[in-house]
């Protein structure tokens, strides 16, 4: 290696020196991102210490000491000291379909696959033949209900046989589909300049937002029959669906109201001066802009709604959490609560994380302002 400092060069001919070793490569990255100052260095070391203590224990419990195949809990304990995933493997089918008849499971499966076909054109604007597919998206809710519940040529299935992941998705999707239009109407009512309409909408929204969903579900399960004509029998699942939809529509309404208020006043005035009627100006001018602004909030509300579907176990419906909890009552698997909860948590994490990623993608796509 030649020592370049010994050579002489004509002015401007000196070859470029390599950057200082501490500013490039792994070392440079570590210095910039982990040890940029004394405080940061201490923080990094503390974080590493915590990870070194916690991670091995978690990994041991979840993977290395875990038992995946066993007949019951005793066998699990004999085979390893970690988690007993055998309970999940045995109950996997039940956790998805609960008591839905075996031979009819193709129907919810088909409905589930079609859900993505229906969602595709709604979520991604580059979807092939989007216009035509949107028609399918519009009839999808009825198609799915027909497939899952039966009737009209298909063998009917009682709704009390619904459960597991299937029930979670049914409640979540129905709530989402139903609450968006209702929420938009409520939001329009809330910002309307007709006092009576405004008061009714504000009253409804504030009432729903002021009470916990549990209380509303209790009302749906115990009291709703009092308010219906004597002798009416009303399916529990349907009651829950209605309550969940009403509940989340109030939250959607608040999000959309934020969007409506963010649309510049000139837009409303311009629509009026074009001679558009109220509904035309809303549909063509105001709502497209307002909804664009409120999409992240709407998706967040949907995630909240989806997570809230777990509350139905308190009034006796068996969603994925409820079905798995019932496995705990089985003497074979008694006491494996942590495993069951982790499994359910992973299920919810995957679906909710996907939704929040989608919302970020939309935010980026719709972001037309400046970025720092």
């Amino acid at each position: 290696m030649t020592d370049i400092s010994q050579k002489t060069y004509a002015p401007g001919q000196h070859p470029d020196l390599p950057p200082p070793a501490l500013t490039t490569g792994v070392l440079g990255w570590m210095r910039a991102n982990l040890f940029s100052s004394v405080g940061n260095g201490i923080l990094t070391l503390a974080a590493l210490a915590v990870l070194a203590v916690v991670l091995p224990k978690v990994l041991d419990f979840v993977f290395f000491d875990a038992v995946f195949f066993a007949e019951d809990r005793q066998e699990c304990q004999a085979l390893g000291s970690g988690a007993c995933w055998a309970v999940i493997i045995e109950r996997f089918q039940v956790s998805i379909y609960a008591f839905y008849p075996d031979e009819l499971r193709w129907r919810p499966n088909l409905a589930f696959v079609l859900l993505f076909v229906a969602l595709g054109p709604l979520l991604f604007d580059k979807f092939p033949a989007r216009k035509q597919m949107l028609f399918f998206s519009m009839i999808y809710p009825f198609l799915a209900a027909w497939l899952v519940v039966g009737g009209l040529g298909l063998e009917p299935v009682e709704t009390n046989k619904f459960g597991g992941v299937m029930l979670t998705i049914i409640i979540g999707v129905t709530g989402i589909v139903g609450s968006l239009p209702l929420g938009i109407v409520l939001a329009l009512g809330r910002v309307s300049n007709l006092p009576a309409v405004k008061i009714v909408c504000v009253g409804f929204i504030e009432f729903i937002r002021g009470v916990p969903l549990i209380a509303l579900l209790f009302i749906a399960s115990t009291m709703l029959n009092y308010f219906l004509p004597p002798g009416t029998e009303f399916d529990l699942l349907l009651r829950v669906l209605i309550m969940v939809t009403l509940f989340s529509s109030a939250y959607i309404a608040e999000v959309v109201r934020g969007g409506l208020q963010a649309v510049a006043k000139g837009q409303y005035e311009a629509a009026d001066s074009m001679g558009l009627t109220y509904w035309q100006s809303m549909r063509l001018i105001v709502l497209p802009q307002a909804l664009k602004i409120s999409i992240p909030g709407i998706v967040n509300t949907f995630i909240g709604l989806y997570k809230d579907t777990t509350l139905v176990i308190i009034i006796g419906l068996l969603d994925v959490l409820g079905v798995m909890k019932s496995a705990l009552a089985d003497p074979k698997w008694n006491g494996l609560a942590v495993e069951v909860y982790i499994y359910t948590a992973v299920f919810f994490f995957i679906s909710c994380f996907a939704m929040s990623r989608y919302s970020l993608y939309l935010e980026k796509k719709l972001h037309t302002g400046h970025k720092r």
């Binding site: 910039a32 991102n33 982990l34 940029s36 940061n40 923080l43 990094t44 974080a47 590493l48 990870l51 300049n193 007709l194 006092p195 009576a196 309409v197 009714v200 504030e206 009432f207 937002r209 002021g210 009470v211 916990p212 969903l213 549990i214 209380a215 209790f218 009302i219 115990t222 009291m223 029959n225 009092y226 308010f227 219906l228 004509p229 004597p230 995630i303 997570k307 809230d308 579907t309 777990t310 509350l311 176990i313 308190i314 959490l321 909890k325 006491g335 609560a337 942590v338 909860y341 982790i342 359910t344 948590a345 919810f348 994490f349 909710c352 994380f353 929040s356 720092r372």
Partner: protein, 396 residues
């Protein structure tokens, strides 16, 4: 002739409909009418249904003995107390877990929110994982999971985890020493209050001096000394007027001290860490919302980093943070109703649960529950409106 009349009528109606004022009146009349019709319909149905099974609406049952036990009570309660007292016990339990949860959630949330903004890659990633893991899993699951861990994996009372033989953690809950205050302790309390009053006065004076002369007084240290050091000195001088009762293992359980039940522990921790993830995101976006030019302008004026934070960034960030923060507090309070899943006796579990089942008075019990939650949320909204008005950006 008849055709002409009907066409006149139609045009009258359409004229009314096309006139903006009369149309808005018509729409409102229709709305109100439909609402009243709905309430009337529901009311009549409820009346008929209640009549059919021979029930009436009455709150008499509130004064009858509840005859069930509540394992955690802040006020005196036995199974012979009334349903009304059970409701108050439940209400206090709800408030207890809500206030404790709000405190812990705020502390955790602010810490994690700031950590999400550090340039330290590792810490940043850990904070990110914390937020995402908590936000994307239902709260009910967190409550059940933490309750499962507390009850299932913590040792039995006999092998309780001890911390210096003062605190004990077992599957029956957390045992901590309790204090009995002697009359002289009042001096410490007075010292504390005096410290706060002095701090407020000192802060105002410091601000005035700074505005007049530009001299900056050491506010933080003076305030800390007045609020913390002064009461401690008074406490020591008056001769430690507190007696501690330390929990001791006697027979099958601990005696002495005070205990936190595992239900409360699980609910409190779950509510706090779940809400802290949301608060962290609020804090992060609030700090990011302060335009970068503000920090640069402060730098150009020659303010030091901590003065920039204190005088420029935090006041502006708070304007963005506080409204969603209060709604998270309200959410936490409402979410505490999930207590019923693990048997913590809050308002829903007492009056809306056991009392309801015992007396069969669904209407009355649920009405009470709804009224209580609505009054929580209305009072928080009122605070919000007041705060928003106070900090509203004064624009030209």
């Amino acid at each position: 002739m008849t055709a002409q009349v009907s066409s006149d009528k139609r045009s009258a109606v359409s004229r009314l409909w096309n006139d903006k004022e009369s149309r808005s009146v018509m729409i409102q009349v229709i709305t109100i009418g439909a609402l009243f019709a709905l309430f009337f319909y529901l009311g009549v149905n409820a009346y008929l249904n209640l009549k059919a099974i021979g029930k009436d609406l009455s709150f008499e049952f509130l004064w009858q003995p509840a005859s069930y036990d509540i394992n955690q009570t802040l006020i005196e309660y036995t199974s012979r107390s009334t349903h009304f007292r059970a409701m108050i016990v439940g209400l206090l339990n709800t408030l207890l877990v809500a206030v404790a949860g709000i405190m812990l959630a705020t502390i955790l949330g602010f810490i994690v929110g700031v950590l999400r903004l550090t340039k330290n890659w590792l810490v940043n990633r850990i904070a990110y994982c914390y937020v995402e893991a908590l936000r994307n899993v239902p709260l009910l699951l967190w409550i059940l999971l933490i309750h499962g861990v507390v009850v299932g994996t913590l040792p039995a009372v006999r092998d309780a985890l001890g911390l210096g033989d003062i605190f004990f953690l077992s599957n029956r809950g957390l045992y901590a020493p309790s204090a009995t205050f002697e009359p002289l302790f009042l001096a410490t309390v007075i010292a504390f209050i005096a410290g706060i009053v002095f701090s407020i006065w000192f802060k105002r004076r410091a601000k005035k001096i700074q505005e007049e002369t530009g001299r900056i007084l050491p506010v933080l240290w003076t305030v800390l000394a007045a609020i913390l050091l002064f009461p401690i000195v008074v406490f020591l001088v008056t001769g430690l007027p507190v007696q501690w009762s330390i929990p001791e293992l006697k027979g099958f359980n601990f005696a002495g001290g005070f205990s936190i039940k595992p239900e409360f522990l699980a609910l409190w921790l779950a509510l706090s860490i779940y809400t802290s993830a949301f608060i962290a995101e609020i804090v992060r976006s609030g700090i990011l919302a302060v335009a970068h030019g503000q920090t640069e302008a402060a730098g150009a004026l020659g303010l030091r980093t901590n003065r920039t934070l204190q005088l420029i960034v935090v006041p502006q960030a708070l304007r963005v943070i506080v409204p969603p923060l209060t709604s998270q507090y309200l959410n936490l309070t409402k979410n505490s109703s999930l207590a019923i899943a693990i048997g913590y006796m809050d308002i829903v579990a007492t009056i809306g649960g056991i009392s309801l089942n015992q007396t069969g008075r669904e209407m009355e019990c649920m009405a009470l529950v709804l009224i209580i939650y609505l009054s929580f949320s209305l009072s928080i909204s009122m605070f919000m409106n007041w705060y928003n008005k106070r900090i509203k950006l004064v624009e030209r």
